[in-house]
């Protein structure tokens, strides 16, 4: 006959196994972001917010490149614009449209700050990312 203690041990082992499986299933998933998706994580992680995901595809359906990259002064460089929330609420960068009139306003934090915590600043699916690296699978 088993004692109560043995059941507790069994429960802990069971829980541990469930965690192992969960971690394994989660880490097995590769990133298949949309071509041109930009993750901006200059300040987000440090501030305890999810990083921003900027989907180029969504915006180019609605606006030509010129609107952001000429009129609003966005440089062609992921994370190169040093955007922060103060600039946005003052109507610069994202704030030029995300004002509750042209597009959703800044109070909808989670719609932009929707990235996985810890994702570095980068353009996803870029040619540079897709260049074959030595020791496939072990690449960062």
């Amino acid at each position: 006959m088993r004692t109560y203690d043995e059941n507790v041990v069994l429960a802990i082992v069971l829980l541990f196994c469930m965690m192992l499986v969960a971690v394994d299933l989660l880490t097995a998933r590769d990133a298949h972001a949309e071509y041109g998706d930009v993750v901006i994580n200059n300040y987000s992680d440090d501030a305890g917010m999810r990083p921003v995901v900027f989907p180029h595809w969504f915006h180019r359906v609605r606006f030509r490149c010129k609107v952001c990259h000429a009129d609003l002064g966005f440089k062609f460089e992921a994370g190169g614009n040093e955007i922060n929330m103060l600039k946005i609420i003052d109507g610069e960068y994202c704030g030029a449209c995300h004002d509750g009139d042209i597009a959703w306003s800044v109070e909808n934090c989670d719609l932009c700050h929707s990235g996985s915590p810890g994702t570095p600043t980068q353009v996803h699916e870029s040619t540079l990312q897709k260049l074959a690296k030595p020791a496939a699978g072990k690449a960062e």
Binding site: R2, C17, G36, V67, L111, S116, A136
Partner: protein, 202 residues
Amino acid sequence: MTILRNLITSTGAVVIVFMLALLLVNKESHSADPNQFNRLLAPPSKRNPPPTLDGIHDADGPGAAMLQTPKSAFDILPKSKSGNYVDWVKALDEKKIAPRYDRNDVDAQPIVMDLNIVREVKGSMPNVVYPHKQHTEWLDCSNCHPAIFIPQKGANNISMASILLGEACGVCHGKVAFPVSECRRCHSQPKKKSTGAKAAAK
């Protein structure tokens, strides 16, 4: 009572064995599947995934599930073989999309310049034809001139290496505009017979 407790513990043991087996099988499938080696070969079913499954959005956050899915937007757009699997230039030409040229003025029209620039290339590849027309549909002159390209014939030294590293055409192509793998969309003008690799070898 004892029987019940034994039943629970033995069920627990079976579940543990099952989970360990699942763990092993899962590990095995990562290393044994030969297709895993070339990670560029994403099957069509994996293309344009919704934000909750794309690996960069936090699926547990409140935002990811509220965003538009790429497939719902791309459904009616002309297809291409790479990038977003959308031919954006064609989509604009066929008026499938109507992106604003000014963020406030719905009627603002782009200043389109119809001028092709032919760049003769050194190797055996066809010459590059650069169309201002398609570029000025989307962009302003100041986006490229003079910072990226000096507006003067022969003044810009461009190589595929520099493009791959994100300079010149590579500022956009390979990141948001169609990728560098679409060689013939730029290298589109056949060389005259007297020039090219064969003539150079003589």
